[in-house]
Assembly symmetry: C2
Homo-oligomer: 417 residues x 2
């Protein structure tokens, strides 16, 4: 995989140039994307590769749910065939302003929902790369680009990162802008990032947002809460074992590991996620449902029709439950620095199953807005990546990324059973 940190260090040391790094990304896309199908559109060759700024030389893939002024923006839907926005989405404009090169639009599932798209998992093309940020995760995993931007409304950053074996970072809610993104659910939609490893994704997000997100790794091991909930039964035996292994590695490396049982308010938050998402999506996509119903997938049309029938007071009640879950989640971090849980029930399912996998282990943390990181490095017996998820306190993105970086290093260094 391409490394953000290495490219930036090599350019700083005069061993590489921005144009050279971007030419390599473009060549890698040319070589691999006819198999991976991670890109929906590419920037015209020979434009804008000589930028200056902290992200100069970094070729970024942007999920095709964000507007770009110089490339078509399809939102993964035939409704938007041929659409060319007038302006870049704010996060795209930020990337360009920092010197990044927006090399292409990465494949999204239809309107960032569940209907699987054409992208395959670089570890095995028979498997889904996850969704809805399918192309962003796969493009990084396939070594085509060093960094990508995606979004998560349920589990659309952490899940594909886990399935593709890359680092995924869902920031605290509203830390990065979602303007110019096709809205799905306005209290849930969160911009997120993909890179080869945690240090790379932290560096990319830090340089993009101008914030310190933990350039220095932690020197003392974190206090880890091994998160236990009723949905653990939905995880595969191999995934449960991966979490246990990660906890054991952390403990041997000096971390404190305690079990944290899911509070009722957070369980309840997971239950109401669908109400919040469905109600908001039915409003957000009311135009598409009214004028383009025939061009929607069955799964999305049904979700919107169900969402339209949710009464406002049921939505208001769900939002209250979300607030309670958020407050309760904050309290969990009085005793621990970080929570450890599966990123997904297991490895990415077979594409023939017609699913991008389950957001079960992600959605409540999208609802509460806590920062989450998928830590890569573990795999199942078939060699498919198994992602583990670290969840941090709201607003403590730096500490979350530092702990994830520490754990990733210990997993890479540690003994394997």
């Amino acid at each position: 995989m391409q490394s953000v940190s290495k490219i930036i260090a090599d350019i700083a040391a005069g061993r590489d140039t921005p144009a050279g790094a971007i030419a390599r990304s473009r060549a890698a896309i040319g070589e691999r994307d006819n198999e991976i199908h991670a890109f929906e559109a590419l920037a015209p060759e020979g434009t804008g590769t000589a930028s200056e700024g902290p992200l100069a030389g970094i070729a970024v893939g942007v999920k095709d749910i964000f507007d770009t002024h110089d490339m078509p923006t399809r939102y993964g839907s035939p409704i938007y065939d041929g659409f060319r926005p007038r302006a870049d989405a704010p996060i795209v404009a930020m990337a360009r302003a920092r010197g990044a090169y927006v090399i292409g639009k990465t494949v999204t599932t239809e309107l960032a929902f569940l209907d699987p798209a054409k992208t395959v998992n670089p570890h095995d093309p028979a498997h889904t790369p996850g969704g809805s940020s399918s192309g962003s995760a796969a493009a990084v995993a396939a070594g085509m680009i060093p960094a990508a931007i995606g979004t998560q409304t349920g589990g659309s950053v952490i899940r594909p990162a886990a399935f593709c074996g890359v680092a995924g970072y869902k920031p605290s809610f509203r830390l990065f802008p979602t303007g110019g993104m096709k809205t799905f659910a306005w209290t849930l939609d969160t911009a997120g990032f993909f890179a080869a490893n945690v240090a790379d994704v932290a560096l990319f997000a830090a340089l993009l947002g101008g914030r310190d997100l933990g350039a220095d790794p932690v020197t003392s091991p974190p206090r880890i809460g091994l998160y236990r909930s009723e949905i653990d039964n939905e995880a595969s035996a191999e995934m449960r074992d991966a979490v246990t292994r990660a906890a054991a590695i952390a403990e041997r490396a000096g971390a404190t590991v305690v079990e944290v049982c899911e509070p009722e308010q957070i369980r309840r938050g997971r239950d109401v996620h669908a109400v919040v998402q469905g109600y908001e999506a039915a409003i957000s996509l009311a135009h598409e449902l009214a004028f383009h119903s025939d061009e929607l997938s069955g799964v999305l049309r049904e979700t919107l029709e169900e969402g339209r029938s949710i009464p406002p007071n049921a939505y208001d009640e769900a939002r209250r439950a979300a607030r309670h879950a958020r407050k309760t989640a904050t309290g969990l971090f009085d005793e621990v620095d970080i929570l450890l849980a599966p990123s997904a029930p297991g490895a990415g399912p077979l594409r023939s199953l017609g699913t991008t996998g389950s957001a079960l282990f992600n959605k409540v943390w999208t609802l509460t807005g806590n920062p989450c990181v998928n830590v890569p490095g573990l795999a199942d017996s078939a060699g498919m990546p198994l992602g583990i998820q670290l969840i941090g306190r709201f607003g403590r993105d730096k500490q979350t990324l530092q702990a994830a970086r520490w754990l990733e290093g210990e997993i890479a260094a540690g003994p394997r059973p």
Copy 2:
């Protein structure tokens, strides 16, 4: 002025038809808008006027900062000349789904900021109608349409409503969707509404959102907090007198009126509004600043350039101050139902002064997200409207509108000095 309640009642009673009501709105626009300049674009004649639904027969003006699929959307900026979005903004799609007729796009100042637009004040064309929702307020005030949609990031709903002598309602933050709106500042941008009087604006918002917002007026007078702060000195003597008169009328009609002194945390919130707005606007409009700087007004370009220089930690600090202000604001409603304050420093200034007026009395309540209502009915010695503002507890939109409706009625019935 046209009345939402009357049109709906007349249609229900068979005295009017949706098509007839809309034809009258269209005729009124034809007669008056060449003087008022409230509209940026009109819907093609003869389309969609026979809708069904609770808002059938209501011609709605939509601030031209929201996308519409069937009309150009200019965001008040030459950068967007000729732009035709693919989809309706969610709030526009909601209005259509409830049977409203989107009769036209109303004039906005440039990108919903401060640069005055072409609209004049219907009470005196030498005066500003206020901004940024200039056309929405003026179109209702001039009797062209019964209801309009606008947005407020500083004072862009309450201020023009006050200057134009109509009811303006800024809902609790995120009660209505802002997707498909050109983002200015994502933690501040709030959709809001205009109608002839408070009962009309409450009915319109209730039918649009499907929520009970006080169909029945309050039977017992509210407990009113007369809000006192250091900015009261910025209000004209006539405005201070208008607030005093309103309080006296309320008290004579049975309301409890107590003075509430501005807490330090709310004063601090008002101070940091510019930091939050400037930082977010510089990101939201980074594309326009990078690619279309020459097509921006001086006031906006300077604001964006200043915003770009605000360090993230200063923004984070301002957001923390905003959270403190929000919590403190909630506490104020333990003792009172509603706060009473000026909607603006006075009547709408002369257009020759090159300003849409000041958001000084509005911006902290946008930052805290509290519901606000401009109550019309008072005027200065020249006959120009003086708006007074009721501020309610976050999430208590119904109670806020009920109290505003009660006060509006007492002002209309009460003695004048």
